[in-house]
């Protein structure tokens, strides 16, 4: 690569700034390859660059094409698509209203208990008053067993928190994938 070619690629890179990084480097890499092929073909660099046209114009063509979204076959404007979208959006909307806060609360509370319980277990072992460990029937964990018992309880809570987090993530992914499928346009990403 000589100076003129480097300058051309720099100019191109600068004008590709509206594009994501991978999109930009891919474009520059391909043009760089084109210049090298032309040079290997015995053409002077100036002629190869002239053939490519103005670097700014070329970059703009990439940017313009990137923002040109493609309608998917049949997805736009059909009645069944409209009805299906409405049912899906309202149905999952109502469902999410319950599922999302419940799972979020479960995850948060279980996570909090998983952290706090072992601390309380230690405190109770050393006789700090006011900490009750036992069942509702009045049975209490012996003081010496406070810490091990708290660990068992905390582990259970940790599993619950983890499960809640996974469920919430899975649920959101599922819903978002559904929304994406309903879009009348294909995502512009590769």
């Amino acid at each position: 690569m000589d100076d003129a070619a480097e300058r051309y690629l720099d100019e191109m890179r600068r004008n590709l700034r509206p594009l994501p990084e991978d999109e930009r480097s891919e474009a520059v890499r391909e043009i760089e390859s084109h210049i090298a092929e032309g040079q290997a073909d015995g053409r002077p660099t100036a002629a190869v660059l002239a053939g490519l046209g103005d670097a700014k114009t070329l970059a703009r063509a990439y940017v313009a094409d990137y923002h040109l979204r493609v309608p998917r076959d049949g997805a736009l404007g059909s009645v069944s698509h409209f009805v299906l979208s409405s049912v899906f959006v309202s149905g999952t909307g109502v469902l999410s209203l319950f599922v999302v806060p419940m799972l979020a609360l479960l995850t948060f509370l279980a996570g909090l208990l998983a952290v706090v319980t072992p601390v309380l277990g230690v405190l109770r072992t050393f006789g700090v008053p006011g900490i009750v460990m036992g069942d509702s029937g009045g049975w209490e964990v012996p003081t010496l067993w406070s810490f091990p018992a708290s660990l068992v309880f905390a582990a259970t809570c940790a599993v619950l928190a983890w499960a809640g987090y996974k469920l919430l993530r899975g649920y959101l992914r599922l819903i978002l994938a559904g929304y994406r499928r309903l879009l009348p346009f294909r995502p512009v990403l590769r």
Binding site: A27, S33, H34, A36, T57, D65, V70
Partner: protein, 120 residues
């Protein structure tokens, strides 16, 4: 003014047909950009600014009509090879049929125009 208009018109026609030609050339064998550009240069009316082919290729790839892979070349830097996807292949078939129909119709309408002129 009329000349400028005619120039604009031809460049629009070319832009529309370039996609068809690019797809057809890729269908014959996997090609990299430079190869494609030199192949297009064989036909003078198709020899556009070489740069315009690259954004077009990028869009065809994004639309799933072609797929691309970088391959090492014996001499020089790696090349980006393009080949048709099944979707692109089907599209090319339909476009080719449409083009045949359209060019036939245009030819007929032009010759009708000529006949009318010579008779009148």
């Amino acid at each position: 003014m009329a000349l400028v208009r005619a120039g604009e018109w031809s460049s629009q026609i070319r832009r529309g047909t370039l996609e068809l030609c690019v797809l057809a050339l890729i269908a014959s064998k996997p090609r990299y950009g430079y190869d494609l550009v030199t192949a297009l240069e064989r036909w003078e009316p198709l020899a556009t600014t070489e740069g315009t082919v690259y954004p077009l290729l990028r869009r065809l790839q994004r639309e799933g009509k072609v797929e691309a892979s970088w391959r090492e070349s014996a001499a020089g830097p790696p090349r980006k090879y393009y080949q048709l996807t099944p979707y692109g292949g089907g599209l090319l078939e339909r476009m080719t049929a449409d083009w045949a129909e359209l060019s036939e119709a245009v030819r007929e309408s032009l010759s009708t125009g000529k006949e009318a002129k010579s008779h009148g």
